[in-house]
């Protein structure tokens, strides 16, 4: 009998062992009074900059140690959502405008409104960190704009003047044509992208993607339609590859292999491009986006500006400490460290030149970037964006490949966004 019991027990124990999944508890707090915090980011290129900031904090507060963890962009959101469901969010994490409303509106994020000096941040930076209720759910980290990147070598070969602030869409077309005629390489590479593509053109032309209160799309507006027609129509020129081409290689790849002379790039990618491709030094240059020649409204200038923020979860047992860290991250000192590392343009006003200084070793002039913030437009977003984003991009691809007409495609986009936004 005794033997039997023993056997049963061992069997049960074995079964239990097999079934126990490895737990993944967070490890904050330890015996010697040191608090260990986790800090989750998605860009490995910015890890040194983030680490430098954390080290600066630890120097002042030796009892707080912050560990920077990186997960790639794609798995980042899957991971973060799973962590949110399991109530195991990292202590501090990057938040993106695409997702912040979803997290903030569902009560996942802590209100951090009183941690920063709001007058040191631009209206757009603050908006990018707000929930639908207008409170701040993140400390603004950085800001970016979209700029025109061009290959100076190809311009020289074709004898075309470099792009400047006076450029309009017409100049973009004529320069592209001249480069194509002279060198056989592509000119401006227009492709199916929102933030790096048609959004800019729509806002330049006085149109909009979402209306003021973010409840309706603007694809039924003549200004929007006109800009979409122009942008999508660019692929019919010989100097622009069609969308099938971009289905196989990104415009950035085509640019660095010298296949095309111009494309739109976010400021966050400029330094990594130069660091990873030293042969581009001197060739890669930036300019402001060309303006709409005769916009329906406005002065024809616009560029999409986005920004990240640092967020913390709504229930953290080290709440006070984490808040203090976030307060530091939003301070001039930490934002300066971030800028000088070249990671991104600090959200803190007046520190743009710290980011520009990271380019000193390269033959590139980025001093014009700061001026673009003056006419920048906040990146398009509402709470149902995750729901409509991929559906709208499917429609765009269908327009590109002639599976639906432009009118029909835009009408579909309109109803997709309107229906999703209605809840």
């Amino acid at each position: 009998m005794k033997k039997q019991v023993k056997r049963i027990l061992s069997a049960v124990a074995l079964g239990g062992m097999l079934l126990t999944a490895a737990g993944c508890g967070s490890s904050n707090g330890s015996a010697d009074g040191v608090v260990n915090l986790t800090f989750q980011i998605w860009d490995v290129g910015q890890k040194p900059g983030m680490q430098a900031m954390c080290d600066a904090y630890t120097e002042k507060n030796p009892n707080v140690k912050i560990q920077v963890q990186v997960a790639g962009w794609n798995e980042y959101w899957t991971k973060l959502e799973a962590a949110a469901i399991g109530n195991k969010l990292p202590d501090i994490f990057w938040m993106h405008t695409n997702e912040i409303l979803k997290y903030a509106d569902n009560g996942m994020l802590e209100d951090v409104s009183d941690l920063i000096e709001t007058d040191k941040f631009s209206e757009i930076s603050l908006q990018n960190a707000q929930g639908s209720d207008g409170k701040l759910y993140g400390v603004p980290k950085d800001k970016d704009v979209i700029c025109l990147v061009y290959n100076a070598d190809l311009f020289d070969q074709a004898g075309v003047a470099y792009p400047d602030d006076s450029w309009t869409w017409d100049d973009l077309i004529s320069a592209s044509q001249q480069i194509y005629d002279a060198t056989g390489k592509y000119g401006y590479m227009a492709y199916a992208d929102e933030q790096l593509g048609y959004w800019n053109f729509v806002y330049q032309n006085g149109g909009y993607i979402l209306n003021e209160d973010k409840t309706k799309a603007g694809f039924d507006q003549p200004a929007t339609q006109q800009a979409m027609e122009f942008y999508i129509g660019l692929q019919d020129y010989d100097w622009c590859p069609d969308q099938a081409y971009f289905g196989e290689q990104a415009p950035g790849t085509a640019f660095l292999s010298g296949q095309g002379a111009m494309y739109f790039e976010g400021t966050w990618n400029l330094l990594p491009m130069l660091q990873n491709n030293p042969e581009l030094n001197g060739k890669l240059q930036v300019a402001a986006l060309p303006a709409a020649p005769d916009p329906v409204s406005g002065d024809g200038r616009a560029t999409i500006s986005n920004g990240l923020c640092y967020a913390m979860s709504a229930n953290n047992k080290n709440e006070e400490i984490v808040k203090d860290v976030l307060k530091f991250f939003g301070s001039e000192e930490a934002q300066r460290i971030q800028g000088e590392s070249g990671a991104a343009i600090p959200a803190y006003e007046g520190l743009e030149e710290t980011w520009a200084s990271a380019f000193e070793g390269y033959d590139i002039d980025v001093s014009g970037v700061a001026a673009m913030f003056d006419y920048s437009v906040q990146s398009v977003n509402n709470a149902s964006r995750p729901e409509w984003k991929s559906k709208v991009s499917d429609q765009l691809l269908k327009i590109y490949s002639d599976q639906v007409s432009l009118e029909q495609g835009l009408a579909n986009m309109q109803s997709i966004i309107d229906e999703a936004s209605a809840g």
Binding site: A11, G247, Q249
Partner: protein, 293 residues
């Protein structure tokens, strides 16, 4: 009385022995399946919350053009891969069974694709099929858009799928072929049957039980294809909707659009589809699978 008691005690030990597996199945397979089914009847809200709403997801699914396109793509992918793939695997198995020099090396070579990570396979083939710079277009001097032409893209994926699975299937079939007694072939050749006749009249019927298993496995795998197409066909590819399989659609709905309820409905539909196809095969096998040796 005594035997009954003993019987019960045996049963107890029997259940105890299979308990870990059964528990594992219940927790890791059965429970998620039920959960998926419930989700398919629910509206998904953020962060794992959901709300029962009946058949709404199914209604939306069955009226969606995209969904039927994906179903058709999955079926078309099976049609493209299974018959050709199985035939090549069988042919290969027979050839690998022949007494040729370096047989072991050939067997290893054909099996190799199975050992390579599917993502790596797709990446390399993607480069080879690249319309602008790919080796395939440059060798044949063609300008075919292998990955972006809506009519061709699934055929391209099918070629890669066949390439990566044919070796594995061949090894399975080879084990079946090796069980065939050589006397059959001896007798057949004495009666004047040629190699081709022997293949169809001896090899195919005798290997049919293994062949049946291989076909079922390959069909299921093809209906569930995801990773290969995901790797080969970028989200920015204009031929995306013409290559999107059911599982790809499921991924995009559940994890990109965040609509897990709708995604669950797609999964349930796929299970249903696989069940029908498998049931049909079990009925059909009576006509051609030979279990007498």
């Amino acid at each position: 009385m005594n035997s009954k008691k003993r019987n019960r005690s045996d049963m107890f030990w029997g259940y105890l022995m299979v308990a870990p597996t059964i528990l594992g199945l219940l927790i890791l397979n059965i429970y998620p399946f039920i959960e998926t089914f419930i989700r398919s009847l629910s509206k998904t809200k953020a962060f794992g919350k959901y709300e029962f709403q009946g058949l709404m997801n199914y209604q939306e699914m069955f009226t969606s053009e995209e969904f039927w396109k994906a179903t058709w793509n999955s079926i078309w992918f099976c049609v493209l891969t299974v018959p050709v793939g199985i035939f090549l695997a069988l042919l290969l198995a027979v050839l690998l069974n022949a007494k040729i020099a370096g047989r072991g090396i050939f067997r290893t070579i054909y099996f190799l694709p199975m050992v390579v990570a599917p993502a790596a396979v797709a990446m390399v083939w993607k480069w080879m099929f690249n319309a602008e710079f790919g080796i395939i277009n440059s060798i044949f001097g063609t300008e075919i858009r292998w990955l972006t032409d809506p009519k061709i893209v699934l055929i391209t994926c099918a070629v890669v799928s066949i390439w990566s699975s044919v070796g594995y299937d061949a090894i399975l079939l080879l084990s079946g072929i090796q069980n065939i007694s050589p006397y059959y072939y001896e007798a057949a050749s004495l009666d004047g049957a040629g190699k081709v006749k022997q293949f169809f009249c001896i090899t195919v019927p005798m290997v049919s039980p293994t062949l049946f298993v291989v076909i079922i496995m390959r069909l299921m795998a093809s209906l569930r294809v995801y990773d290969l197409i995901y790797m080969m066909v970028d989200q920015a590819n204009p031929a995306l909707t013409d290559a999107q399989s059911l599982m790809y659609l499921f991924y995009r709905e559940s994890f990109i659009a965040g609509n897990k309820g709708y995604g669950s409905a797609i999964v349930i539909w796929t299970v249903f589809l696989i069940a029908i196809v498998t049931a049909l095969q079990f009925i059909g096998q009576k006509k051609w699978v030979n279990y007498e040796v």
